[in-house]
Subunit: 193 residues, 2 copies
């Protein structure tokens, strides 16, 4: 039996994107964002949504570029911290003891210790209400070699990314491998085995 | 050491959204979408991205409304199937033995057996390239009572949602509970304990 809960931003899973920008003075900053996801395959694009009131918003509007660093199960503490402090009055990298690395392709820093990084350039901005959506082209993906499988592909089983449950407000790790995409459902095709 | 992999739609996690629409003849259809996420808190909005070539695209443009049904670890087979067959020539609900349920608030069907449903009305459309982004207001969230915790909140630990790793093309289940949001990171605040 389904229960109606009314309107709300409850959806599973939501990602834990650590968005990196330089502020007007050139100071590296990061902010954790759960509102976002891939939004186009060609060109490859990702969307993030940010409130106007955040320190990151001004940097995004000014620089039009950012990074996304993805934390692992062992990095949930800094990932959560980056979503609670403000870059206005805190050097979040220093407080977390993590390293801001200057990107090669965009004017934005990423978290050196996080294993998976996207370098992004904004291509579309939409004002939706409390949040502004920034769709951005992914110019490069950089991944720790320890997260690549024998074919050189990133794999969650090695990377152990985290996600967030927005209703209960809890983080979760990488669960069981449930099988291959465009494959496990074939049993339901006519003539599928 | 980080390795540059070039541009790509590799990001973790990506969701498994089963998007429900009625076609022009009123036939219920579903399509699995991994490109999307929450995009605004007030009004609550979600974004999905769909290729123009899909059967769902025309229904979205015509009806301006859709649902998102979220599958569990035990429903990975129909969720994957919904992403491989086309509604043009397949009654996907019938093939999967699942029930199309007419939504209360929007003109779109959802998957009765899936535990978590959003009813959505499109508010913004952006052509980004191969994919079109649809941002939609969430008018209601409907959840199986079996997925609600003692405080009546949806919780992933009971719901067991799945997600997809886009590079290795594999599904994963709900992992370990890693702690509370806006809480586990407090140890890094000045004076944090």
């Amino acid at each position: 039996m389904k229960k109606s809960l009314g309107p709300g931003t409850w959806l599973y899973p939501t990602p834990v994107f650590v968005v990196g920008t330089y502020d007007a003075a050139g100071k590296p900053n990061v902010m954790t964002v759960a509102w976002g996801g891939i939004c186009c395959s060609k060109p490859p694009c990702v969307a993030i949504s940010v409130r106007k009131a955040t320190y990151t918003y001004a940097s995004l509007m000014e620089k039009k570029e950012f990074t996304i660093s993805i934390p692992t199960e062992k990095q949930v503490v800094p990932a959560d911290f980056f979503g609670t402090a403000s870059g206005r009055d805190t050097d979040k990298f220093a407080a977390a003891g993590l390293t801001p690395v200057r990107s090669e392709l965009v004017h934005a820093p990423y978290v050196g210790e996080f294993p998976f990084v996207l370098e992004c350039r904004i291509v579309h901005v939409a004002e939706l209400g409390l949040h502004t959506l920034f769709a951005a082209e992914i110019l490069d993906v950089k991944v720790d070699e320890s997260c690549l499988d024998e074919r050189g592909r990133p794999t969650a089983a090695l990377m152990r990314p985290i996600w967030w449950g927005p209703s209960e407000n809890r983080y979760y790790g990488t669960g069981e491998d449930l099988g291959k995409g465009f494959a496990v459902g074939r049993v339901l095709q006519p003539g599928g085995d």
